[in-house]
Chain length 451, copies 2
């Protein structure tokens, strides 16, 4: 069996040939890490500045203190709002004038600022991103404007029943855990947020030891390292200067907790006028490094991974009960979720829940067929190969490996792991969920659902 | 100035080198058209089977007759439901086992069935798509199940305030025109739909003269032509046999109507409990072939095309009134729309409308700056180049050129056209819309909006 590529924190340089391209990694004494994947045929590149800090790292109990709920996401917005040398407008025009895809995302365990650009525009993108991440001013007037923008973003999500269901599902399944909290905070915490507290969060959490820069496509590793070190040396903020040694920060991997979070099954109804119920059911799942993740991938593919999956066939194709239905897993360093989604008319919801449980239980008791095994393997191989054509996918893969386990499974290595999964392992994974107390979240006109 | 590549209907073969790749086109005596763009570095391909028939071609006045409202979209669903040699389940598994992206879409002027696959899976995808498009059974039992699925799809759209606003905006701006109708029909027309009527629509509208097959990426044109002709010759349905000569059908291009559709400005409110108003304002726009489309593209980029655009700056960045705001154009063979979207709290909606009108009027009176001109050109160049890295974009570009005007503007040719736009032309385009009676559609808690 092939082994993953390892990213030890004390290894200054690494260079590995991979499928015609090359992965390189530099760990600077300052704690800064830079990883690239050169793709010979690429004429563009995606570059990301990742900080290993996400919403789970906020302090829920301190509503208006540094790092209160939603401050990670608030800070992400503010990093677009200007530095001593570039105004917010200049940052926007710099990326617009080259037609870049330029955005950021705040997740539960990390924050990422990225741009996809033509090869000729690569250096410009690196310079702008470095300036945003290291030199942002968090201007008080911009802070107030952005508060309004974020309140609108939360309002938009509150009007989306799928978003409401998803946030509530995380909250109910992982209720006491920081991973169960909403990423963006709440309207209350955003209204209460203070500029100096978000600034404190920025100064406290953003430095070379938490920064990981990854790029894929038409990239020159040595040139990128040079550009980034120059930018950090020129930073207006002393904490970015790379002459001080720091240990890079990596989130450790826990193990999947044995006991389920909920002691008993529960049904949570969120009443909203609607045509459909947005339904989620599931339970705690596997942490990111769990050895069962390959068996889970195969089980999930058969249960709810495509048009030929059991949920799609039983709920949509045979009975016309839903337009959308699928199953999914979400894994973090010390927690995970497993869930099934369906959107259907209120009067069909109870039947959809029964069918979902039944199909999960059937895999737990009878396993999957050989044909399903081969199909899942082919689906994972084909869809992964297509996804990896994109520079963005490869840029993200590098960062998640570096920030997470420190292990990169390239496509061939993963496929060997999936192929080695046994029928019993797949049954055991399904049984793990089938036997757990299920949490059901139903958002919509639940009065007609009979739940 | 460069010229577009022309696709005359009576030209049997065409081969043009383009940016390192090659475009080839075959017009078969049966009316069938096959177009490919070979991309030398690609390891995958996207293939689409396009029919030049969309929802606008339905007969709105005949609720349960062949081609009634929603029947084009209903038919699109049914083409996944089985042929004499492949069951619906077999079709689903054939694509899932290779990890393909496989889907279809019904638009107002065409319908498309497509798949993105690794190069090794290309022939399999062609075979499956050809079978679906030419041999579908429209089984009565599958028809009933699918009715339920489509009703759920409509219910999902009805719960999405953005979708509701968009459909209503088309309806109000183009009210008497078939392009103003919803693509999927209504719950009433779907409940009334009869299997034999949809089948009639299929037999009447789908044949070699309306079929355009396009592929981009790792494709061999000659092999594709061979495969498709074999598949059509083997079809269970006589109308697909290619021994009969037919004239290929192409939708003609009209000219942009002089008079606006609405005689006076109007405000349409759709009341729904919500946190935000989904706001659309706009008017009739340009048809697809309008010579002003390049000036429109530049004007639209400056008005609402990115983070540095005037709407984004005035509405979001300076005032925090919305999270999302942008402007857009939609062009069809004989009609078009121009619109501005924003999502914001009800009490901010009136201000957003005023700012939107003001920014449009400012371009109409003062034009854009030189810096904005250069930035727009750069934005169009960069974002188009990035988009064209994807085989799906190129596959779609070929089809839209063939089904529409018969003219393909490659990237360099388009950029010359954009660069040649004058300041006066941009002002004139903005004035065209600023002087038209605007239609405003507001969906949400409109009672608080003061509209």
């Amino acid at each position: 069996m092939r082994e993953p590529i390892l990213f030890p924190l004390d290894l200054p340089e690494l260079s590995v040939e991979l499928g015609g391209g090359r992965i390189r990694r530099t760990v600077h004494p300052s704690g800064l890490r830079i990883l690239t994947e050169h793709m010979p045929a690429a004429r563009s590149a995606t570059i990301g500045f990742w900080i290993g800090v996400g919403s789970r790292d906020e302090q829920a109990e301190r509503n208006d203190a540094p790092g209160s709920l939603g401050s990670t996401h608030f800070l992400e917005h503010l990093l677009f709002k200007g530095t001593p040398t570039n105004s917010a407008y200049k940052i926007a025009t710099d990326f617009d004038r080259i037609g870049a895809e330029h955005n950021a995302l705040t997740a539960k365990e990390y924050t990422c600022y990225y741009a996809k650009v033509r090869d000729a525009d690569f250096e410009l993108a690196v310079g702008s991103l470095a300036d945003m991440v290291t030199n942002s001013l968090l201007d008080p007037e911009e802070f107030e404007n952005e508060r309004g923008v974020i309140l609108e973003e939360l309002a938009m999500a509150a009007d989306d029943l799928g978003d409401v269901a998803s946030e509530r599902f995380f909250e109910e399944v992982l209720h006491d855990h920081p991973l169960g909290r909403p990423i963006g905070g709440t309207p209350e915490t955003i209204r209460a947020a203070k500029r100096d507290d978000v600034d404190h969060h920025y100064r406290d959490r953003y430095d070379p030891s938490t920064l990981v820069i990854t790029a894929a496509g038409a990239v020159d590793h040595d040139r990128l390292v040079e550009l980034v070190l120059q930018a950090l040396a020129a930073s207006h903020e002393e904490r970015w200067h790379t002459d001080r040694e720091r240990t890079p920060v990596r989130r450790g991997r826990g193990t999947t907790p044995d006991a389920p979070a909920a002691a008993a099954p529960k049904i949570v109804k969120v009443e909203r006028p609607s045509e459909q119920i947005n339904l989620l059911l599931g339970t705690r799942g596997f942490v990111a490094g769990d050895p069962r993740r390959f068996a889970f991938g195969m089980m999930n593919s058969v249960l709810g991974g495509g048009m030929s999956s059991r949920l799609f066939q039983e709920i949509r194709e045979k009975r016309g009960l839903a337009y959308t239905t699928y199953s999914f897993g979400a894994s973090y360093s010390d927690e995970g979720l497993f869930g099934i989604f369906a959107g259907s008319a209120p009067e069909k919801t109870a039947q959809v829940i029964e069918l979902s449980k039944l199909e999960l239980a059937r895999i737990a008791s009878d396993g999957i067929t050989e044909e399903e095994f081969e199909r899942s393997l082919g689906q994972i191989a084909g869809s992964s190969a297509l996804a990896l054509e994109d520079t963005e996918t490869r840029m993200g893969r590098l960062a998640r490996a570096e920030l997470g386990s420190g292990e990169l499974y390239d496509l061939d290595t993963s496929l060997e792991q999936f192929a080695a999964v046994t029928a019993d392992e797949i049954k055991a994974v399904a049984a793990h969920f089938a036997n757990a107390p299920l949490t059901v979240v139903a958002v919509g006109d639940t009065t007609k659902s009979g739940l």
